[in-house]
């Protein structure tokens, strides 16, 4: 007798480094168990299976940065019951969103001798700008334990439990000495979404914001604190404008967030 069909999982890639989907293959202890609980129906990095049918859960990596990707993401949405975006590219446009400040034509010219061969959009945008997204998992890269948690939550039909407080909270709980207070190292921990395990302060450096903004971050206050520590405004801008530059909270940069007038 046939056992009941397993939920179908699809893993989709847009503009990205492949690191977030690799997180699934990096679950060395859990991968075969996951493969036993779901049918890995589409995952180009891992299997030759062609794209067909519908998906119970779609994990989407990468940003929308080329014309054909707009059509593709709508197709993924149509085929999928739940769409979960994984990583900073998919949730905030990724570092390639630095072109969004109007540099696309210039970038294209300086990188390619024959720009007419290349088709790109002027912007790199998150998946949620194009289709409805059911859940966004943050991080550059995502935390693989959180990924397993999200897949598990989906399997039992509940909302994933992923805390949205700051790295600063995570860091305090871990008992790490504050790099900013104790050593004067600028740290984005107070405004950055938790999930990494506050590894940067744990390795004696400031957080560089790769998990994107925490819920309701006070970027103004932190930027002013950096100014008081004599961090130049362009440096504060560069700190905010990395892997989650296009997130609404980090996008305005230091001055746009009210720093520079203190």
């Amino acid at each position: 007798m046939m056992s009941p069909a397993k939920p179908r999982l699809g893993v989709f890639k847009f503009a990205s480094c492949d690191g977030c989907q690799l997180s699934l293959l990096d679950c060395e202890d859990e991968l075969l168990a996951v493969a036993g609980a779901v049918e890995i129906a589409y995952f180009l990095e891992a299997t030759r299976r062609p794209l067909e049918g519908e998906f119970d859960l779609a994990l989407v990596e990468g940003s929308i940065s080329a014309p054909e990707q707009i059509e593709q993401i709508h197709d993924v949405r149509k085929r999928s019951k739940f769409v979960v975006t994984i990583g900073a590219c998919a949730t905030a446009g990724g570092i390639q969103a630095l072109r969004n400040w109007g540099h696309e034509q210039e970038y294209l010219r300086v990188v390619y001798a024959k720009p007419e061969y290349i088709q790109t959009l002027a912007t790199s945008t998150p998946i949620a700008d194009h289709v409805n997204v059911d859940f966004e998992l943050r991080g550059c890269p995502i935390n693989k334990e959180q990924l397993i948690g999200v897949i598990g939550a989906f399997l039992v039909g509940r909302r994933p439990h992923v805390p949205n407080h700051s790295v600063c909270m995570e860091c305090k709980r871990a008992g790490i000495v504050c790099v900013m207070v104790a050593r004067g190292v600028p740290c984005l921990g107070p405004v950055t979404h938790a999930g990494c395990g506050s590894i940067c302060p744990g390795y004696d450096r400031g957080c560089y914001g790769c998990y994107g903004p925490a819920r309701l971050p006070n970027v103004t206050s932190l930027a002013r604190q950096f100014q008081a520590m004599r961090v130049p405004l362009p440096v504060i801008d560069n700190m905010l404008h990395t892997f989650n530059a296009w997130s609404p909270e980090f996008r305005p940069g230091a001055v746009g967030n009210g720093a520079g007038h203190a």
């Binding site: 503009a15 540099h103 890269p141």
Partner: protein, 445 residues
């Protein structure tokens, strides 16, 4: 509709089990290859453009994001290039830690490729998961492979803070050096890994290899007294023997209409038009093993001899064995470095930024990775050039497809595609890497 008997196109529109998005087309007419295109349609991300105006201190964090599979390679080439500009020399303890970190990445990336991406081709499965589900013995093999991969990842996790996009590498060294007891904790899994790597070599050597030799130019680093990872001169089995600074004099990138990635080739000695595929060269594990096997630990050379495979070897399908040999090199080197570890006086050396140009080549798991940066006196980037291994192998992959074509035309479509894909996966292409770099030059600055 089948094609007319005299003409046929074999096309794979979305290449699986590689990193990134690629495709290829082989067009045949009257039994002759009319054209071969290895297409990269991964959209460009413009790293070299947005690196301008960033601090050199940010370079290892930013360039890591070019590739989720080999971020350490990007961190290594970038920090070495910048350190060359700033005149930084690392003390031996920090140099050893950099090599240890690279060992971790070689292990995890190579094991991923051998067992998850490549072996399914040899054994006829769509994926490693399908392979594991086919029999309890296979499941055990995949489980042990995952355990070995994890042993490599544990090194990256300890030294780098996490497996993907590590956070601990900085210009001048590291943010934090590991404690001896933290490193010692890695040893048991690596000791187990040494035995597993030996098994993997013997096992890989028994895979069926199609007869596919050719007169390749293999290119790799060569170091006077170690198997190359972070340093060395760039050599080939022909006339090449150069420093990283001389790389642009001997290699060039050019753009083709069918790909979003620039292709690399050897600079032509004679000007004028070149035939398709001319100037192609071969980088990666097979190139390294062919050129540098004498620098590998004796135990690995013995393991290679026991396989019965003759090295140097000119069959790209044998790359899987070279990759397995390099897993053993990396496991052995990791154990040696851990055993000899003395904590450095400081996790990083002091330095002053300065204006200049710096080059570096390191050996990414899939082949040489060239970086060049130009900084101003404050250490801000004025220019960046990044040439990843896959753009260097791209032309060679096309040449292999062209050479394979007469055989493919005799096969049914599905088999022909599978064989062609297998030939491409010999190179462990990383297509995410291969897109976006390209020559970047600002005029009038």
């Amino acid at each position: 509709m089948p094609d007319a008997p005299t003409s046929r196109t074999i096309a794979v529109s979305a290449l699986a089990r590689v990193e990134g998005e690629g495709a290829f087309t082989i067009r045949m007419r009257d039994g002759q290859v009319e054209g071969v295109e290895f297409r990269i349609f991964e959209p460009p991300r413009f790293y070299e453009a947005f690196l301008r105006g960033r601090s050199a201190m940010e370079v290892p964090d930013i360039t890591a994001r070019i590739c989720g599979i080999c971020p350490v390679a990007y961190q290594m080439s970038s920090v070495h290039a910048v350190e060359n500009i700033f005149g930084i020399t690392l003390p031996p303890e920090l140099r050893a830690l950099r090599r240890l970190l690279y060992c971790g990445e070689w292990i995890e990336s190579h094991v991923l490729h051998i067992f998850m991406l490549h072996v399914p081709d040899f054994l006829g499965y769509e994926s490693a998961v399908a392979l594991a589900q086919a029999s309890p013995e296979n499941a055990d093999l995949v489980r042990r492979a995952l355990r070995l991969k994890k042993a490599g990842n544990q090194i990256v996790r300890l030294l780098g803070g996490r497996e993907i996009h590590p956070i601990n590498v900085r210009i001048g060294g590291f943010y934090r050096a590991p404690k001896p007891e933290e490193l010692a904790a890695l040893r048991p899994e690596l000791e187990w890994g040494r035995a597993m790597a030996l098994n993997a070599i013997a096992w890989a050597a028994k895979l069926p290899f199609p007869d596919f030799e050719d007169d390749y130019e293999f290119v790799a680093l060569r170091h006077p007294n170690e198997y190359p990872m972070n340093e060395g001169r760039l050599v080939s089995n022909r006339d090449l023997d150069i420093s990283a600074e001389e790389y642009p004099d001997h290699f060039e990138e050019y753009q083709v209409p069918h790909s979003n990635a620039l292709q690399s080739r050897r600079k032509s000695l004679s000007p004028g038009d070149r035939g398709q595929g001319e100037g192609a060269y071969f980088v990666g594990p097979l190139a390294r093993w062919n050129l540098d096997a004498d620098k590998a630990p004796a135990s690995v050379q013995e393991a290679a001899a026991k396989t019965g495979i003759i090295f140097p070897n000119r069959n790209p399908f044998v790359s899987v064995v070279a990759r397995a040999l390099e897993v053993l090199v990396a496991v052995g080197e990791a154990l040696r470095i851990i055993a000899e570890y003395k904590p450095p006086a400081a996790p990083a050396v002091e330095f002053q930024p300065r204006a200049g140009v710096g080059h570096a080549i390191t050996e990414a798991p899939r082949g040489i990775l060239y970086h060049r940066y130009e900084t101003d006196s404050a250490g801000m980037l004025k220019n960046a050039t990044i040439i990843p291994p896959t753009s260097q192998n791209q032309l060679q992959m096309e040449r292999d497809l062209a050479r394979l074509a007469p055989e493919l035309i005799k096969l049914p479509d599905e088999q022909a595609k599978l064989r062609a894909e297998h030939a491409i996966r010999n190179y462990d292409p990383c297509i995410s890497c291969a897109t976006h770099f390209l020559k970047f030059k600002v005029e009038g600055r």
